[in-house]
């Protein structure tokens, strides 16, 4: 502990330089936080996709609908526990600019059974089953627009116009759901398929895609094949895959953009660290004659090394922890794209990786000058300057 005083005194000696170094490390780790959050956002929640869930869509493309009669037929296939469906509504709330949240007509009890990770209070769920015009929204979307249970939400149709004329569908918000995992998408707006199907101008009896729970995830490929074979050579051929593969395929459609952004950020992160590390190493190099004095009065080589490492690690830890904390706080404020990324948070796993990077930085920056100092001939060191 008696080194602590000396350590602090050293840091204070070039107060400005220490501050600047720490600040650039802070910037690097804030960037690191965003990097992790962006990567997670581009995965679109594939990491928590149910292993026992399959998605069946039209073989040619997802924009083409499937008949609702497939629901019962899919449930007859061996290995299938249950099936339900969802469709793409593609509406606009107020301004197109902020309408990135998905609106899906679904069958409430089946859908909630299919997605136990959507947490909805029991009385709200019951209200939904009672109210034909009822809808539920995810916490993130509800917060973004300041919705409360009981609000009437007007949504402009872009595809499915209502029979009542005009373009507007009005829903009664009966519930707000939360996600069981952080990766759970809480931006969706879910309303009842029966109400939707009865009131749309065209397309009755069609659904967007099927969601299937299977009894044993081991047989996923086999069940998927059986489903597709069942509908082969019909006017509506299907393509079935696991939910994970489906989401991953979807995420891959965003394509190189996500990969390029992450590659760029990684490059920057290391560039900043390189510069900071270089400054830290320089601070040690400047003190060669002092280290000579310490050696002369009896400090062992390993102690000198430990001392230098402690100093560089201290700077790295101060900067890194502030940076990671700041990243956490900033990311919690929301994504910088106004809702284009439904999932945006700092994954805990990456916080740990960040801390490891912090230590690695401290050690890497201190090791080289530390070893040089260790090998230093005391006489040479004292003679310098």
């Amino acid at each position: 502990m008696k080194f602590a005083g000396l350590l602090l005194a050293n840091l204070k000696r070039h107060r400005l330089r220490t501050t600047l170094t720490i600040l650039s490390i802070v910037a690097a780790f804030v960037l690191f936080g965003y990097l992790a959050a962006i990567r997670k956002a581009f995965e679109m929640g594939a990491s928590v996709a149910g292993a026992d869930r399959l998605v069946t869509r039209h073989k040619v493309s997802i924009i083409q609908s499937l008949p609702i009669s497939y629901n019962a037929q899919i449930e007859q296939i061996p290995g299938v526990a249950m099936a339900t469906h969802a469709s793409w509504f593609g509406g606009i709330y107020k301004e197109p600019k902020y309408s990135f949240f998905a609106q899906l007509p679904v069958v409430p009890d089946e859908y909630m059974k299919m997605y136990p990770e959507l947490i909805l209070p029991k009385e709200q769920f019951e209200a939904w089953t009672r109210t034909r015009t009822g809808a539920i929204a995810g916490r993130k979307t509800a917060t973004q627009f300041g919705w409360k249970v009981g609000d009437r939400i007007p949504i402009q149709a872009t595809i499915w116009r209502p029979k009542t004329g005009g373009n507007t569908w009005t829903f009664d918000l009966v519930g707000i759901y939360d996600g069981k995992y952080k990766e759970t998408d809480t931006t969706q707006f879910l309303f009842r398929y029966d109400y939707f199907d009865e009131n749309r101008v065209f397309g009755q009896g069609l659904v967007g895609w099927y969601l299937i729970r299977i009894k044993d995830p081991q047989h996923a490929a086999d069940v998927a094949r059986q489903i597709d074979e069942r509908f082969a050579n019909s006017p509506y051929e299907t393509k079935t895959e696991t939910e994970k593969a489906f989401i991953k395929g979807f995420a891959d459609q965003m394509g190189n953009i996500g990969k390029i952004l992450t590659a760029i950020l990684t490059a920057v992160f290391f560039t900043i660290l390189l510069v900071a590390g270089n400054t830290m190493a320089q601070a040690v190099r400047e003190r060669v004659s002092e280290l000579g004095v310490m050696k002369a009065i009896g400090f062992t080589d390993t102690r000198i090394l430990g001392f230098i490492l402690a100093e560089s690690c201290l700077i790295a830890v101060i900067g890194g922890v502030i940076g990671l904390g700041l990243a956490w706080a900033l990311i919690a404020l929301g994504d910088p794209t106004h809702g284009a990324l439904p999932i945006f948070f700092f994954p805990p796993r990456d916080v740990v990786i960040g801390l490891v990077c912090v230590l690695a930085l401290g050690v890497a920056a201190g090791l080289l000058p530390g070893i040089q100092a260790m090998r230093l001939n005391t006489v040479d060191a004292l003679r310098r300057e």
Binding site: R17, I38, S61, I62, F100, T271, I272, L274, N278
Partner: protein, 396 residues
Amino acid sequence: MGRWLSQTGALLEFNLRSLPRRKGSALAAMVGIAGVVAVLVGVLSIGQGFRRTMEATGSPDTAIIMRSGADSEMMSILTRDDAHIVSDAPGIARAHNRVLVSPELFVVVNLPKKSTGTDANVPMRGVEPPAFDVHNEVHIIQGRMFEWGRNEVIVGKGALGEFKGLDLGSELHFGQSAWKVVGVFEAAGGLPESEIWADASVLAPAYHRGPTYQALKVKLASAGSYQQFKDALTADPRLSLKVQRETEYYAAQSRMIVLLVTGLGGVVSLLMAIGAVFGALNTMYTAVASRGREIATLEALGFGSSPVVISILAESLLIALVGGVLGALLAWIGFDGYRAATMNWQSFSQVTFAFDVDARLLVSGILYALLIGFIGGLFPAIRAARLPLATALRAG
């Protein structure tokens, strides 16, 4: 004045000549700034490239007509009657004895991406003969045009590069039909290059579409006749349509990507700049601190403080300039023309585009570097000039 100039010049020369002695920290600052500029230019080139593709597609004298309420072609549906009524509206250009109204179908078809092997929503457009007069930038660069009434397609060169199975002569299978790829086309870098084109009358039955279209593209007599044309359509009680200039439409189509790129890019460049400024500050402070005595000696010899400030600033700007130019070059070599594909969420389909690093981006990247160099040099320079002489001379 003359003395001031000669002092500044002498100091600058002195600084630059001693630069090799401090090459470690100068190099680190240079690399840092080069990195920042490369990344900044790189990120901006994504947005720029995407925007350029959209702009190359939209033409102010072309209007796009969709059903009212529709946000993209994907969501729109129009009847044959709508198309006939629109054809009679005033202000439409004519060629080959017909009005230039191109009714179009827009669907997507699943094809695997070359880069990942996973399915992507590739846009496919069904067209009729007027399409090639309205989109006169489209022309075949390989193979031939498809024959009307046959199951043949031509593919955009962007789509050809990004997706599997589109090579000349290969067959695409969807629904009960097979389609032969007979040609590759170019569209001046615009959006159609991401698409597959076929005869609408063959495509419609394959997609169970019936006698409907999704959008009409209309070539106007001139960009100025747009208002007259639009007013005529909106006043017609038989129609419920959304009329837009193609340029407006495509600007709106790119908003998600532009938000994504500018939102994320903005945060990233800001953080990077902060990091780089600290790096530059550190370098220059170190440089000044290690030369405190020198500078004090110079001042004692009669050098003014403003030449000292300016020479230090110039050194920092020079480091930043070299870093900035390096970074800009790196971005230009690494990113310009790089082809990528992404999802256009509005139409739920793939767009291929090339990153675009142009002179304006390069210059702004270098200016950004100079700004970092300026901030990084200014404070240390002021500090050096303010240092009390006696203290500085005494310091070791």
